[in-house]
Amino acid sequence: MTLTLGDRLKVRSMVYVASEPIPRFWPMRTFIHHNPLYGLEHRPFVEAVAEGSRLFHARGYLDRGQYQEYRREGRIDDALLRRRIREFLAARAGLPSELDLEAWLWHLATACRRPRVVEAGDWVSGAGIAAVWRGQPAPPPEGDLDAALRAALGRRCAPESPVYAHVDALFGTTLGATLDDLLSKSCLDFFDEGQSAWQAPGREAGFFRAWKAIARRNARFLLRGLHLRQVLAEEETAEGMVAYVLRRLEVPEAVWQDYITRELTRMHGWAGFIRYRMGAKHYYWAQRYPADLVDFLAVRMVLGFALLQEGRRHHGTPASASEILALLDGKPRQAYLRHELYGGTILPAWAHRVDNALARGRPEAIARIASAYVAARTDWENRRTAEALRALAQAVGATEEAALADLAPGQTDALLSVLRDWEDGEGQVWLEAMESRCIDELVAKIRPPASGEPGAKRPFAQALFCIDVRSERMRRHLEALGDYQTFGIAGFFGIPLGYLEFGKGSEAHLCPAVQTPKNLVLEIPAGLDFEEEPLYDALEHVLHELKASVLSPFVAVEAVGLLFSLGLVGRTLAPLGYHRWRTRLHAGKPVTRLLLDKLSPEQADSVIRAVQRAMIVRALARELRIPRDQVTDDDVRNLREIALGNEPGPSRLAQRLGMTEAAEREFLDKLRSVYRIDQGVTSLQMGRLGRIGFSVEEQVRYVTQALLSIGADRNFSRFVLLVAHMSQSENNPYESALDCGACGGGKGLPNARALAGMANKPEVRRRLRERGIVIPEDTWFLPAIHNTTTDVIELHDLDLLPARHLLYLERLRSGLSAAGRCCAAERMPLLGAAPRLAADPFAAAALAQRQAHDWSQVRPEWGLARNAYAIVARRALTEGVDLQGRAFLQSYDYRLDPKGRLLENILTGPLVVGEWINLEHYFSVVDTESYGSGSKVYHNVAGRFAVMTGNQSDLRTGLPAQTVLKDGRPYHEPVRLIALVEAPLEFARRTVGRIAKVQALIGGGWVRLLVLDPEDDYRVHVLEDGGFRVHPRSGRGGHAPSKNPVLEASS
């Protein structure tokens, strides 16, 4: 069977659409916090959560017990909870009037300890429950049992579920798990990024082709009895293979897309990583070893098909959708018993009997047992539900218990329906009630200015921090120390840049993941001395190579194994001392500069010429053994021109040295192919050089935008610190998750250095002055980096600091150091250290240092856990307020933004990054296993780009339990991001309305929006139920605090 181009495109587009709900998964070196339901963000939050639960088998909310615990701690708004109950009941008709249903639902939510009162069941009915209350067994289903069983099976066995999943559910096999294992291994072989000593062959051909070549002779598959040769011979392309297998499985074409979605979401970690690779054009490994989801799906489908065929041969299990359907339809009793037994839902007392009957396979016995079992199951389900209802009625009140017993079967059905629907939506109500409490707290903390402008005294220093929640503490402590003014700005300082670090071979994108930088910044060493690799570094390099070698364990362990014990003992017993000792051994990083200015075409051409000449000199020495002293500059120029095709041969050098024509041609070919002195490559390099640096106009634009977006257009102080941030930890695959999200999971120092370099440039300042931004001559922009694990702020590029500023440097440093210690004193007790450290900043700072170097530390810092707010406003509103490290603080002054363009940038950049971070934490808490990545303790690094649980599993996306839980309970309070924007209400509405994506996020309930209107007496307008309402406790005065703000507002 050969597919036409149209068919192939059809399969490809199906896979593309089917993969939409799967979030992309970035490699862990640049961990990107992302919303696990990113692919469903176009739908409202509630719907997306339900769809996510269906696709990923995950929970979207905490369980009831945990919300009740939050309520006991005062973290729930009872008024909103009650209001939602009333609204829920008001929207329903035909309720049993004998019962006080509001009281029922209130008790159900707040006092019931069961996860659910009305559990899923096939046979619960009002009549059954009534019989139980009469002391009789619940009657088995009336009428045709087979039809009832078919209906029950229809609810359980969706047609779009993979065939092997049905076989597993009906025959107790483990095809799905086996398939996942085999696929994981295949993916690990192909996607490895240098972790394996021996790489899989033929990867350049793409995933499916490379896998296919190996699969034909893979002993692992042969040992399992999988006959892949025949299947693989049927189709050449991945698309063709997908279509072939789907047809062989007899999956109706109408459900192909859903079927593919189910297949892909089963291992959404791998699928998400491949999705990322597909879109990351700059990703080195993707360029070198291409793969896409069609490849992934084709491999999965071939393996799944082979496993089904093997099951049919050896165990007689069905191997196609039609055979499954025949079993469900033709033998419903057997199928039901099978599903009960192998699905683990069977009544335990019946398990052995049913197992025996199914093993013997006598139809009459199976029919008899099925009939008896359904009767027993019906009685059990109704009894269980009746008991739960009675317990709930007792909790509500004695009269309710009596009323419940008197309910007619029809009314009991209505009651069950109410309770079932309430329980289905209860999580969302709890979430809103929790958020309402958070909103109240935030509104109570906001400090509207009494009147007029704050004083215009020039601060000693100004500091621009990242909006990251960890900056909030540092800013608060720094401001409390004295004459410091701080601002919040996205950690990439508004400059999306590609960064080529000195000594690194690949470019890092330092900007939000949703952006692609156009400009490239190079870091070049400023040192004039020729540096050789220090002895220790060379030794370490050798040892590293030795460790990675396949043979070294046989020959080197006895010889050098003991050396490694030094590190083992040092890191374990004295991590800090060991780190300091090793740092002394290493050569320090040289002083560097950033290449910020754009190269002119002449400069770019000159750079390329210089590099090409150097390459020719090297090629002559290596290939022809001709030393530099025998070659003149003119010879080199001549060779270059000939290689580029600008001049004809033979070269002057060849003539002088008497080289044959063939030898010269061979050398020129090598120059073109190996040393890349080629016309095409030169054009490409010219294009790439064009990316380097920023034009003066761009620099002025970026500086203007950065300053205006935070409301800093005047009163600049002597020092303006641009504080990027980073984290530091040992043995932590999630290290980059603690770095800057606005820098794509990288460290933001290059962005800070770039902005400082631009803002310190006289030409830029001159042009800024023309635009009304006057930066005094003595103002110096100074890059710095905040280590969020140790709370140390390190200043950079001090060698560029004007001499007159050095006088003030000591004061600046001591201030930053003191703020860091205060910050550590606040943080360390939260990480489980002794509470006394709160009063001992020096000891707290020492402990923070130790945490950063302790390789056994699973939680070096809390990172962004407990984030809840994004405040887009002037700092004056929150200055001096303890926001407990829970708020993203973006400085913004709407008065400098008449058209709302700056706000648009903030909403589309920092707010979206904040939303991703927030929802990653939210979902990792509510389902630590499915949306989160489970416990770190079992993680192993996979292929150098992700982690797996155990030795193989799906790639673990999301955050580990240690990041969001403390002592088994949520440390991160799972609420959606509450974004407060300080701007006139209409202005904010208009701005949001202009950005479709942000409108969808806010309107869909992914982000809660509050607008603080300074032109309406600083009232807070809360977006709720599709409209804005004024928060009654907000405003500068004249609003009496109410006990029950939500109810008053609604009235």
Binding site: G344, T345, P348
Partner: protein
């Protein structure tokens, strides 16, 4: 007469195929303590019956070897069957039937009755504990069909811990008496039989592994259920500890 006594003994000190009598007898009793007591008493009865038979040393060598081969085959068969058992009661009885084959081996090798009794206790005691716990599960959950709920350890940690220890003792894990009995037993039989007992140990380990996988891992999906009380768990712990001490003592290990 001797043959009849041997056959009778094989019915209560299980030997294939008469082991089904032992299994039926135990299964016919109420789950829990009664089954546990039967597991303790019946093998001792079998040993008593064997005491009435002329010692195996008086038998022709070929008969003795034949009996040893039979005991080995019986142990292998029951262990193999235990692999597919999902009911805890059945699993325990089959593992017990398999392990008690060692008693027959000892008897064929001419071990004295006191040693045989101790060896039988080495298997019967943990078997009795496991049967008692199976009874607890039947009463609280409705059945002792392992693997249905998964992750039992999270809701019944004490019961699970007790069961794990009992299962380890039943599968001749080192430090438990059955291990020393097996150790000594293997030392006293002809070398030709040893290769058959080594896979048997593997099968026991496999069967225990399957049990643990179903007990310890996964998410619990059943109804809320009460664990066994601390006194019960402590008592089981004491019994198994006593068995360990006994094992060290009888096994000749100096503490």
């Amino acid at each position: 007469m001797s043959l009849s006594l041997c056959l009778l003994a094989a019915s209560v000190l299980p030997l294939f195929p008469l082991g089904w009598v032992f299994n039926r007898l135990v299964a016919s009793l109420p789950a829990g303590i009664a089954q546990g007591l039967a597991a303790l008493i019946l093998p001792q009865l079998g040993i008593a019956l064997l005491g009435l038979v002329p010692p195996s040393s008086t038998w022709p060598v070929s008969w003795r070897y034949g009996a040893m081969a039979w005991a080995t085959g019986s142990a292998l068969l029951y262990a193999l069957r235990a692999l597919s058992a999902r009911d805890l009661g059945i699993w325990t009885r089959l593992m017990l039937s398999s392990g008690l084959g060692v008693v027959w081996l000892g008897w064929c090798a001419g071990a004295p009755a006191a040693v045989l009794r101790a060896v039988a206790v080495g298997w019967s005691l943990p078997g009795a504990v496991a049967l008692f716990l199976a009874g607890v599960l039947v009463r609280r959950v409705g059945g002792a069909y392992i693997g249905l709920q998964g992750g039992l350890a999270t809701v019944m940690p004490r019961m699970t811990a007790s069961l794990v220890l009992a299962a380890l003792a039943l599968t001749a894990t080192p430090v438990f008496p059955a291990f020393f009995a097996l150790w000594r037993g293997l030392g006293s039989i002809p070398l030709a039989f040893v290769p058959f007992w080594l896979p048997l140990i593997f099968l026991w380990g496999w069967a225990a592994g399957r049990l643990f996988q179903d007990l310890l891992f996964g998410d619990y999906r059943g109804e809320r259920v009460a664990d066994i009380g601390r006194p019960s768990a402590a008592l089981i712990g004491l019994v198994l500890l006593a068995a360990v001490v006994l094992g060290f003592h009888r096994g000749g290990v100096t503490l």
